[in-house]
Symmetry: D2
Subunit: 453 residues, 4 copies
Amino acid sequence: MGSHVIDNFALQNNFGTAEMRAVFNDVTRLQRQLDVEAALALAEGELDVIPRAAAKQIAAVCDISLYDLDEISKETAIAKHSLMGLINSVQKKADTAGEYVHYGATTQDIVDTATVIQLKEALAIIERDLTAIIKRLAKLSKKYQHTVMVGRTHAMQALPITFGYKLAIWTAEFSRHAARLTESKARILTGNINGAVGTFASLGEAGKAVEKQALDYLELNVPIASLQSSRDNFSEYANLVGLISATLGKIGNEFYNLMRTEIGEIEEGFSQGKIGSSTMPHKRNPAAFETLASLTPPVLKGVSLVHESMHVEHERDAMSWRQEWIALPEISIYLSGQLTNLLSILDTFVVREDKMLENLNRQYGLLLSEKVMFEVGKKLGKQTAHHIVYEKSMIAFEENRSFADTLLESEAIQQYFDRPTIDEWLDPAKYTGQSVSVVDDVYQEIEKIYGRL
Amino acid sequence: MGSHVIDNFALQNNFGTAEMRAVFNDVTRLQRQLDVEAALALAEGELDVIPRAAAKQIAAVCDISLYDLDEISKETAIAKHSLMGLINSVQKKADTAGEYVHYGATTQDIVDTATVIQLKEALAIIERDLTAIIKRLAKLSKKYQHTVMVGRTHAMQALPITFGYKLAIWTAEFSRHAARLTESKARILTGNINGAVGTFASLGEAGKAVEKQALDYLELNVPIASLQSSRDNFSEYANLVGLISATLGKIGNEFYNLMRTEIGEIEEGFSQGKIGSSTMPHKRNPAAFETLASLTPPVLKGVSLVHESMHVEHERDAMSWRQEWIALPEISIYLSGQLTNLLSILDTFVVREDKMLENLNRQYGLLLSEKVMFEVGKKLGKQTAHHIVYEKSMIAFEENRSFADTLLESEAIQQYFDRPTIDEWLDPAKYTGQSVSVVDDVYQEIEKIYGRL
Amino acid sequence: MGSHVIDNFALQNNFGTAEMRAVFNDVTRLQRQLDVEAALALAEGELDVIPRAAAKQIAAVCDISLYDLDEISKETAIAKHSLMGLINSVQKKADTAGEYVHYGATTQDIVDTATVIQLKEALAIIERDLTAIIKRLAKLSKKYQHTVMVGRTHAMQALPITFGYKLAIWTAEFSRHAARLTESKARILTGNINGAVGTFASLGEAGKAVEKQALDYLELNVPIASLQSSRDNFSEYANLVGLISATLGKIGNEFYNLMRTEIGEIEEGFSQGKIGSSTMPHKRNPAAFETLASLTPPVLKGVSLVHESMHVEHERDAMSWRQEWIALPEISIYLSGQLTNLLSILDTFVVREDKMLENLNRQYGLLLSEKVMFEVGKKLGKQTAHHIVYEKSMIAFEENRSFADTLLESEAIQQYFDRPTIDEWLDPAKYTGQSVSVVDDVYQEIEKIYGRL
Amino acid sequence: MGSHVIDNFALQNNFGTAEMRAVFNDVTRLQRQLDVEAALALAEGELDVIPRAAAKQIAAVCDISLYDLDEISKETAIAKHSLMGLINSVQKKADTAGEYVHYGATTQDIVDTATVIQLKEALAIIERDLTAIIKRLAKLSKKYQHTVMVGRTHAMQALPITFGYKLAIWTAEFSRHAARLTESKARILTGNINGAVGTFASLGEAGKAVEKQALDYLELNVPIASLQSSRDNFSEYANLVGLISATLGKIGNEFYNLMRTEIGEIEEGFSQGKIGSSTMPHKRNPAAFETLASLTPPVLKGVSLVHESMHVEHERDAMSWRQEWIALPEISIYLSGQLTNLLSILDTFVVREDKMLENLNRQYGLLLSEKVMFEVGKKLGKQTAHHIVYEKSMIAFEENRSFADTLLESEAIQQYFDRPTIDEWLDPAKYTGQSVSVVDDVYQEIEKIYGRL
């Protein structure tokens, strides 16, 4: 029984994936803490800080399936401490090696390093899905490279573009996110095991070596100085998630708008049994698009919370810390839902080229006013051209008439141009600028990074 | 297995109460939706919109314990719709009455009204705990009415106050929150059942009467116009929660600071088995105070999310809606944790009057510089007084000497005042201003509202 | 030369009004602080705390036009204190009365109470504009009470409504805001003058009377206990602003969407000289609608900042305080821009009833699928009806055909219904439900509050 | 007269620097837009898109000092357009070249690229100050490498550290920010000039070359695809600012806490004439520390606003855009205030080693409980050791007695250890762990990057 929507049995798959939930669920969380205790013990054994036999004994019991979760829960409540419940249980189970459990470490060493392991798993998922999206979008942009549609600014029809061009811009944006992810990874995947106030005091000279060895076992990087009061790497992770999520949300919103009844250029894939409305049988709703768009605001709130958690007091406090416990799983899970949702959308959405064409012609030529102005300007000068074209386009708009007709009512225009010329100007397919070539640029760039698509 | 900390079996009680989680968990959520379907059916039966027998039959199966949750979950996934899974199940179970289930209603009617029922339960809990806190604080403020302690501004010792005075200010603040809650309640507890776009189109003339009757059954208020695209009442609820939480967080932070080793005026109650640090045996940490303080930032993020959800498009959309599904439970659950935590703190915290006294004397008299300035000013004029007192206080501070001594090194002061006079000025207990009387004012105000305490 | 967009000479009028900027500009801020100093002096004179002549002398120089602003700026920098620069200047100007300036008060008394005066002025502006909007919207809702248009959910055409119905819902929403404002006003307009830590220590017995008298002069309410560490009233103001702004932003976004080229039901008023695009002559952009919508996000950020400022440490700190200095003017100014913008929009926007009609018919009848289902259900049962209607609507949608035609291909339907009947069902104007009557309900409610409109 | 605190003549220097305000003020904003128009014209001249003479003529008038600002302001109001007021003025001034002004560009090309120039200037300031802070902190960490002080967790004394160690951790954190800045720079400093919907339609084949040439002149990078609807680079800038600001705020808060009267380890530099309190002459407030801390929350709100602005609709909208106009200057200006403030603090703050020592001894030895436990553990086993040490430390705490005394009351301890041994354990200077060596590690790392310090 979940009380948060992330754990609501009926709704959770709209807010994240089972795979990402598994990375952050309560049992995995404990297992990752046990992983760190095991690595610590083994490193200490290796470096003769504790008996090697004890180290092995400890590592052997660092398996959450050996424990009674209710027991741990009860111990946690008594200790009023987030980790001691677990440690007490491990100590008991480790028998004579018990006293070497958690040797020289502080709670935050274990909890933070365990979190970094979780982020490593999360980042792998994110990177995998991000790559898949980039490749898929690049291929789609190529497929629709020449599919002319209306470009819109301020929600008004502006100029023709191609659908592939729109997709190429998204591809480029995700590709920048991938570059950011690559650059940030080494910092984010840094563990931290250095004792109560980060000085290795309990382990003395051996401290740094133990930290290095343990983090090597866990395949995490070693910090130059303790991170207990430096939480910027978590914020860097949050920034990454925030940016990727913002792009995903933008795309969800874009598809949602393109699916509007009155636009209809994109349709959400429709599976048998899917229900739009409980009362209106004709309704097909952009449910997946809305789901995609809806998760960006909560991700951005979580990102802010992680940012605020950088405000640590002294060598450590538990107030800022909890923001991370709340927000890091939240934003990762919401993002997983968005990534998967987009991948599924890209596999199933319908591109209505007929509607794109219909919309291109909806303004009877006005869409090409810029083109007309430039061409007319070549003969009459830009300012005169702007004056005439503006006037004639306003008349066409107000009176709902063909732009070619109103243009040809201008004597100045009649003098220099004939209808066939104007009709050619007004052909949207001839005024997509470099739409096609931008698609090629982006496609090549993606192939440079990811190889032949 | 919970992936959100709210549902993490080992940690959840630090982030909320079982009672509040129960209001919002996935099963209750469905039950509240069934409650609305039942009320709707009964109202429609009463008003002869559907057969009375069918109404009764439907009401009888609106009990979540009759259903297989996995089944509902599966149906929800197929329908890609948050409510249809449930409705389909109810229709099957209602047999011949099935076709009258959800008659004339739209999904949002059910989901929103069910949410309002949850908020009603949540508000009852909040109001109960708020009242308990107000009464408890008022009594504590009376108990410590005369307990002199240092007042601090900018974290520096400023002037004496009494501990009761500090508590009275919090009491007054919570009391304003209680007034706000009372004023907002009627608006917040308004249901909404008016069909696909809020026009009652499917029920025609009977629509308004059905809505009124159903909401009467549920003991909720009736909106003057559909709330499907008007989410301000949820934001008003969030505002309430945010303000109460902000006060709670402030108090958590205040106690945390007053417990600092170097201040030590307040101590968190210490129960057997509680562990401060996994490595430092002497540590007693302000764990409950930190927990109290730590939940305000996530509440405020949730409040923002609810505010953003007012941005509905057209007659309804599902993007803003989901923010409510995330945030309303979150902020209610976090708040429940804070309210309960404060109540428990107020029952167990230790007031160290010895440390308060020690701190009052830590500056060797400088704490009373304002008093000295006013008294000296009466003889020498305020500006001269400020000049002398400022100079002598800076010497006392720099040289770590008794303020009385440095004052008496001034000839002007020697001329008018003697050491006993100055010593009396420097008695903190004699310069708490109206601290005691403010406690009385607030106490009486609270008794006026809540009766004899 | 302004560096913030609020003070950018070329852009500022898109982000606020001159009137509201004047309430919060740097000179007014100082004048309001002088107003408080004057009221304090006069109250102290009245109560014989200081000589009456001195009080008058002080009041006489509490006029910012008497001072050299550069001088104050320089003094402020030297004192590294936000108020002392001003006080020093006043003391000099007040001559022999100088030593009675700011007598017994602390900085925050003056600054906070001055802020409350500013909020009083801001609230008056907000209330005035809110009232104007409510009346205007109510009248417009009556005007368009019968103007049928498409109602949309999830951005898809759902069912007919009337434009007046849409406006009535907004009217009701603003009317709830007005009720909230009325309820909150007494708390928000509470001043605070009670000395260094709020205990009136410097003024002793006379303290409470001085505070009351001074706040009476300023026509502000008196707090029951010091508000120096209780900032909830500012948050309550912020909540009000946030909710009103969220409604305004929603409306801006709604008009923006209704103006889309492909929808075209609403047009922004177009004034001579207004330019849509620097390059596309035909463009008419929803510039005012976008401006209206664009200011809600920054307001909500400011609201959050004010909420966070409730986190005061001890009896006062300057960290949380500054959030108020930033955010209270910001949100008030942005809101003023939105209120004025909406009023101007309501005076000039164009309602395109022809486009509304066109859009109603765009789906060849599908818009009325709910109506058909209910009518068919009366003969064939709801489930059978849903089955048939769903199938026939999907065919109409897929094949872009008339819904009446596909319906009549069903034998079951043919058996019971003829084309004229079906055509009547499919008339949008006959299926607006209680749209018209909801307008009347809201209109009457508004007249109950504001009198004959 | 400024209405935003950033432009408030008396307060603005607490919220930013004159240098950064100059980057973003209204006049510079216009000049940067003119810079882009000039670069565009010159590039178009160079590439024979427009006459070369016209290009030179245009470049010559792209100097804001040639224009009447009131005129531009008025034109802007008439055009209801943020850029056309300026363009109209330039066209007039450019005389016969007027028609080639803004040739083929769209508003957003100019405004966005101008913003990027501002960000380039801002980044240069940020990088300069960040470098100065890193070097200064590194040197200070070396200076105080051996200065022992209390390390605190949960605001409670935990274990000894050195002050240099604390500073080294901050140095490392800032150094990571510097690495982030370096990595992000190329992306952030990318301009964008590609026409109405980013397709270069108006310039045809020449478009890409014009964009490249113009951005080369401006020393900005060239995007692979239009950035008009891709705002992620601005968010990346905001992320950088947010992270740096969060570290600065943390340090402000840390110093603020270390200056508390009861701790007193750090003091803010005190200049003649600085006033702590308007009523308490002895007060020295941590004004600069509070100022430093206070600016992080508004920066984080601005960062969120920029994140939200990634939500662009279609090829461009003006709603998300405005968030950047608000937030990018805000966060840059607040950050400039923080950077400068910290540099000034580091030059003037006072380190009270006497108070550090006093605080180390305040718990009569308890501070070293971990050390004792480890040493005792070596003889008696960790669990027994924990048991004894815990018990004896609780007694010392409760009875306010020397820890050495209570320890020696244990027979087990007496058996193995004598008082001199225990006294040595309890010497804080002997238990700073690797504090000193971590300082060396960080110092060397910084020298590796920045050369000999």
